[in-house]
């Protein structure tokens, strides 16, 4: 593989700790129904690929979904989205 940083991510992680510039795949969202549903509706469905544009670490993230566009998610939301890092 050769890419070190990719190796450090195997398995599930909350979106809030993913480095900027990585592309991740949403696996599941832990949270209240309203929130989960809202995230689904803006395209953050399990299986969807999103790019982490900004991550302020222990703060909010900015993500981009190819289909639905750019969103900013508060820290409270970002840590509830479990993702898998794409190679």
């Amino acid at each position: 593989m050769g890419d070190n940083s990719a190796d450090t991510y195997t398995g599930l992680f909350p979106l809030s700790i993913i480095e900027e510039g990585k592309t991740v795949k949403v696996v599941k969202i832990i949270g209240g129904r309203g929130l989960v549903r809202r995230l689904y509706e803006i395209g953050l469905l399990p299986g969807a690929e999103i790019e982490v544009v900004r991550n302020s670490k222990h703060g909010p993230v900015i993500i981009r979904n190819k289909i639905t566009g750019t969103f900013s998610l508060g820290y409270g939301v970002a840590k509830k989205i479990m993702v898998e890092v794409m190679q």
Partner: protein, 690 residues
């Protein structure tokens, strides 16, 4: 009656009937801009029944038809999440507007079409206003509008809201759609789900739910998606057995699919949308599109260090703009009102008590209001400007990390900022916060944001006692306000509002150059909400205070009491102040200070003018009197007290309408308590140091 399709049969061609048209759309699509253009700015802002979200309506006449346009809050889908969204959905379902106009951002069709699909599934008569086509063009998007129109079988009108392009076509479309049948629309969710939908529909057909406002397929779909509101509706009607059967069908389906039904259904919708956009949207390559431009700006504006520096600088400029630019205008207004108009009223041939009522009661109240306006207007202009450029969305991002530390989400920063101008619109602006907990906590701390009405008090005292470091001392007061807010938030996090903020989900709109008209319209709307809410209360309270000053336990004292401290000391106000004077023993404030603080409850800036009356001096000479009855330390503790002691009358009234009397009284008592403690702390710590 069994479960019929959709709403009541439409009465055709009746020109006297009021036609309700709802305007919906995702946030940031240009909905309010289009609404303003459609109504010609003649919107009427009220409240939705039962809740306090603003309801904007406007009436227009199109070809003899009277049309009422209702602006619904921005929503992403029809599943409610925040208070705003509950209302939007309720309106469409229960009030059944004849036509729904969805405003779509043409640069982001995919996301916007999701709502379109949901609306079409409800079989509402839909017109699409394809807004921002100018930007779509710049982005290199070619949208085959005719193709899309034929495929979806609805009218699509391209518009540029800020330039009023397409608005006429839109009004024509409303009339065209009036008499056409509601569209029929169906997405194929795949054999398994379709079968389940049909099974549920068959059950629904046997029950009375015609008034839900949608067809049975829609209800079936929403039951499959665990729509809590619909389930609740069934429960209310004692239709639990239907729900039980639905649960069985769902369980059945779940085992066959092996995946979440809800996710699959949303995926199907997106697949459908993608099939549409692949067919009808072509992308040309453009050198620098809005997206790449926005990305590049964001690299700096959301940068952890540079971004924060720019944010604080922008904030500084925003306040500088609203205070500095407004202050000459405020002075002018002040001279005009308390000088010219006041003496004019006094010269009118009226009984003294009437002319005093007008001049010292009503005019005083109106004056307080008017004097705020320049300041507030400039602050709102600045905020609306930043909002329309898209920068405020970045501010939310930047502050989320910090706000999280006190248990709030980044979205709270905007109400708090507005609070520095005036607490009333700040409290109103908390409505967009999705989370009830965040909302209450924010309302609790907003009064600690030192609004512009408190500045005159600081200016007066710092001028007398801290001439050398005036700016620094005033800054320290603001700082104490913010610190108290932080401590309060932390405290209540532990005590009342357990847990963490649920965070926020927010669209990051591209950076745009705002339209001047839109900014002025928005600012005016905000000013109006302040005037409507605060206006009558301030004027009425001023009159009450006026009455309490010219009457006393002995009866009528005469209007001279307002100018004569000996008389005034026998008024009701003075009697009450003397009664509670022992409470303020530690501060060494006499009844006059306490009276002026009582006056200050109406609007804090009144403290200064009432002090001058009570000490029987001109406002200009107030400083000499004050310097004898205060020390720098007691003056500072008084400033801290006025900063914190209670939200003013207008703020309290707004709080009451938002969160009820009980909570408001709690906030007032809490803040009195905090003010007392902080002022006392200032005195004792200061006493030790000096």
């Amino acid at each position: 009656m069994s479960c019929h399709e959709l709403s009541s049969p439409t009465t055709l061609g009746n020109k006297h009937e009021l036609i309700k048209v709802a305007i919906v759309g995702n946030p940031n699509v240009g909905k309010s801009a289009l609404f303003n253009k459609l109504t010609g700015g003649n919107a009427w802002v009220g409240n939705w029944p039962g809740v306090t979200v603003e309801k904007k309506t406007g009436r227009i006449v199109i070809e003899g038809h009277e049309v009422e346009l209702v602006d619904l809050p921005g929503i992403y889908g029809l599943t409610p999440y925040s208070l705003d969204e509950v209302i939007a959905r309720k309106f469409i379902l229960e009030e059944r507007p004849r036509i729904v106009i969805q405003v779509i951002n043409a640069t982001n069709l995919e996301r916007n079409l999701y709502l379109t699909i949901q609306l079409l599934e409800m079989n509402v008569k839909l017109i699409i206003a394809l807004n921002m086509i100018d930007l779509a063009e710049k982005e290199g998007l070619e949208i085959d509008i005719n193709g899309l129109m034929n495929q979806l079988n609805i009218l699509i009108i391209p518009t540029i809201a800020v330039k009023e392009v397409g608005v006429d076509n839109l009004t024509k479309a409303i009339i065209m759609e009036l008499n056409s049948p509601p569209p029929f629309f169906k997405i194929n969710y795949g054999p398994e789900i379709e079968e389940a939908i049909q099974r549920i529909e068959r059950i629904l057909d046997k029950c009375e739910i015609a008034d839900v406002g949608a067809n049975s397929r829609w209800i079936a779909i929403h039951l499959l998606e665990d729509d809590k509101d619909i389930e609740e509706l069934f429960r209310k009607r004692g239709l639990e057995d239907v729900l039980r059967k639905v649960v069985e069908i769902k369980r059945d389906l779940q085992t066959r699919l092996g995946e979440s039904i809800e996710v699959l259904m949303i995926e199907k919708r997106y697949q459908y949308i993608l099939s549409l956009t692949q067919k009808y949207v072509k992308r040309r390559h453009v050198k620098e599109s809005l997206t790449t431009f926005t990305d590049r700006l964001d690299r700096i504006l959301t940068h952890p260090i540079l971004g924060l520096m720019i944010f604080i600088s922008t904030l500084y400029l925003l306040f500088k703009f609203s205070f500095d630019v407004a202050s000459p205008l405020t002075n002018l207004l002040d001279v005009l009102i308390s000088g010219h108009v006041h003496s004019f009223l006094k010269t009118l041939p009226l009984p003294t008590i009437i002319s005093s009522l007008l001049a010292d009661g009503v005019l005083q109240g109106v004056g307080i209001l008017l004097i705020f306006i320049p300041n507030l207007f400039f602050l709102f202009l600045g905020i609306s400007f930043l909002e329309d450029t898209g920068y405020l969305a970045r501010v939310t991002f930047l502050s989320d990390k910090w706000m999280n530390k006190i248990g709030l989400s980044g979205r709270v920063i905007i109400p708090l900022l507005i609070g520095f101008g005036c607490n009333v619109p700040a409290i109103l602006s908390t409505r967009v916060l999705g989370d009830d907990r965040d909302r209450r906590l924010t309302m609790l701390i907003i009064p600690f944001m030192s609004c512009s009405a408190r500045l005159p008090i600081y200016l007066l005292f710092t001028l007398v006692f801290f001439k050398e470091n005036q700016m620094l001392v005033i800054l320290s007061i603001y700082f104490i306000g913010v610190t108290t807010a932080i401590i309060t938030a932390l405290l209540f996090n532990k005590l009342l509002f357990k847990g963490q903020t649920s965070g926020y989900v927010m669209d990051m709109p591209p950076y745009l150059i705002p339209s001047v008209g839109n900014i002025f319209a928005k600012s005016w709307e905000r000013i109006k909400s302040f005037l409507v809410r605060a206006g009558s209360i301030i004027v009425i309270m001023m009159v009450i205070i006026w009455a309490l000053s010219i009457f006393g336990p002995e009866g009528y004292l005469g209007v001279e009491a307002l100018r004569n401290p000996d008389l005034l000391s026998r008024s009701w106000i003075a009697s009450f102040s003397k009664l509670i004077e022992p409470l303020f023993k530690p501060f060494n404030w006499d009844w006059r200070v306490i009276s002026s603080l009582l006056f200050g409850f109406v609007a804090k800036e009144v403290v200064v003018s009432s002090l001058s009356v009570l000490y029987n001096v001109e406002e200009a000479d107030l400083s000499t009197v004050l310097s004898t009855s205060f020390t720098p330390l007691t003056a500072y503790s008084l400033m801290v007290f006025t900063l914190l002691y209670t939200p003013c009358m207008a703020t309290a009234a707004t709080l009451r309408s938002e969160i009820g009397l009980k909570n408001t009284i709690f906030i007032i008592i809490y803040e009195l308590f905090i003010a007392y403690i902080m002022a006392y702390l200032v005195l004792s710590i200061g006493g030790l140091l000096l």
